[in-house]
């Protein structure tokens, strides 16, 4: 393939990665923004979503689309419920102290990951996509008869991947509507701005925290259900999304929703594009070092306010 078609392919793959990353990172960002809690177990809720999707999809017979739709509902619900339990049993009891919550969620990370290893096993298992058509993409080239369309070999995308991008956009819009236009969103934003005042105005801050923590985990699980027909479900798959989400949330500015989405597009796309041309390990090294440097010299990120 020539450079042009190659680049288009890299951009499309990058867009799939970026849309899933945006959903995952948004969950992390929401939890940090409202609760000031760094949820190190966030990647495991992502993994949980994918594994539950496999269980649901294999236990429902019939067309793969039915199982997939069921997983789309069930996986976020279960992951959210587990997260609310974690909030209730652990985070609340350490009074959301920053260091204690980090150590506690590291513990939750291993508990979820290793329990999955015991129940689900060490294999990577695929989930069948609800639909998957190969769509060949045209490319323009200056040929003998002037400008001409042709379909280069290998330049194609599946309809499912396009669906993932569209679904992520829809979910992001719904999320934005919930945050900015509903009562629940108002309460969340009030709690984020000033916990004490919110409490004084009769907002049940404790319950808001539970809901936000569950909501964050559900977003990660939803992202995982979307990606699991492309990647396989595996008990260690939470590691990379966690790291990338951290990177996105830091670059975007801790707790800023707009910054998170912009950064997710930036990181997801460049990760997709760079790893086509450079070794993926090298691109990861560069990315992690860059993030560390950003955090050292500009801790508030691109859009965030200075944190205490």
């Amino acid at each position: 393939m020539d450079f042009g078609p190659h680049l288009i392919l890299a951009i499309l793959e990058g867009a799939v990665g970026a849309s899933v990353l945006a959903l995952t990172a948004l969950g992390l960002s929401l939890v940090f923004g409202v609760m000031r809690v760094v949820n190190v177990a966030h990647g495991e809720f992502f993994m949980l979503g994918a594994v539950i999707a496999w269980f649901v999809a294999t236990s429902i017979a019939g067309h793969p689309a039915i199982g997939f739709l069921a997983a789309l509902v069930i996986a976020p619900l279960i992951a959210g419920a587990v997260a609310m339990l974690v909030d209730r049993l652990i985070l609340r009891n350490v009074a959301y102290d920053p260091e204690a919550t980090i150590v506690g969620t590291i513990g939750v990370l291993y508990i979820l990951q290793q329990s999955t290893l015991m129940i689900y096993g060490p294999e990577a298992r695929p989930v069948e996509p609800p639909f998957s058509h190969r769509i060949a993409l045209p490319w323009l080239e200056w040929g003998e008869n002037g400008l001409a369309f042709y379909f280069p070999w290998g330049l194609s995308i599946t309809s499912y991947k396009l669906f993932v991008i569209a679904a992520a956009v829809v979910i992001l819009m719904v999320f934005w509507l919930v945050i900015s236009r509903t009562r629940l969103g108002l309460i969340m934003r009030a709690t984020q701005m000033d916990r004490e005042t919110a409490l004084a105005f009769g907002i049940p801050v404790q319950r808001v925290y539970s809901i936000v923590f569950g909501f964050g985990a559900a977003l990660a699980a939803l992202a995982a259900v979307l990606i699991v027909p492309i990647q396989q479900a595996h008990y260690l798959m939470g590691h990379d999304p966690l790291l990338l989400s951290f990177i996105v949330v830091i670059i975007g500015g801790l707790g800023s929703v707009r910054g998170t989405i912009v950064a997710a597009l930036l990181i997801g796309m460049s990760d997709g594009i760079i790893s086509v041309f450079l070794s993926p390990t090298l691109s990861k090294i560069i990315a992690t070092l860059l993030v560390a440097i950003v955090l050292v010299f500009r801790p508030q990120g691109l859009y965030g306010k200075k944190m205490a």
Binding site: N93, P98, G107, V108, Q114, T288, I293, L295, V296
Partner: protein
Amino acid sequence: MNLDARSAALHLGLIAVLVALGFVLPTYHQGNLARILVLATYAVGYNVLFGYTGLLSLGHAMFFAAGMYGCGLAMHLGGISVIPALVVGLISAVVLSAIVALLALRTIGVAFMIVTLMFAQSVYLTVLYLGEWTGGDEGFVIAQASRQIAGYALTEPLTRYFAALILFSVSLLITARMMQMSFGRVLIGVRENEERTRMLGYDVFRHKLGAVIISGTICGAAGAGYAVLFGYVGATFASVQYSIFPLLWVLLGGMGTTIGPLIGVAFMFYLIDYASGLTNAYMLIAGAALVLLTLFARAGIVGEIRNRWVPWLP
């Protein structure tokens, strides 16, 4: 007895018990204890920063790995003998910890944890990327014949045990002495109240810088010791898991106590040893321990003993 004499008696007594154990333990447990002593050295180094200075790092595996790869590669590729290789390992750890300290100490709190995590992650990925020399995930084995000091083979169990004990004792005595000197006192001041320490006229940044470098160097020494004594160098030791372990050990044993790290490592080592016989998901134990510690015993084993019964414990 005054406090300093009591703590000296405690530490020398502990070392005497460990010397005696070297002669009476069966070979299996002797090997385990040698490994525990090297890992406890790692925990002692971590404790300097986390327990005494109050800085929570999530990236100490990079210092352990710096010592391990510095020493291991010097022997494996450079073909030099044990003592100079250990020096190479130590120098690598000093250099890396100085660089990391200068950058990471500009941040505080949660940002410090994430910055150290990111630096450690890039060190880990670099080890994988340079797989041609480091062997990547699989790592490499250091030739048995080269693992000897002045004719004493470090592969021989009893010699290895005492080499590990010397490494641990030196780091234990250095940190215990350090915490009695004014430098160590200032570190505790930084942990308790950084603003007040600064107001009293101490250069907080210089003390934190010193703490990171001392902590990183002791961890590097543990890594170099591990490479020489057990002859294996692998990328696992640079992974996130090995940054979490010292945190777990120190929390379990008791942060800010001199003997806590050893107690924590020994406890966790045998717990994981037992659990891995039952299931391959033995890290479940580590996860549960972390959660239970944050919920119920923030002071750890030795810390709780100190709070309840023996207030003079160093």
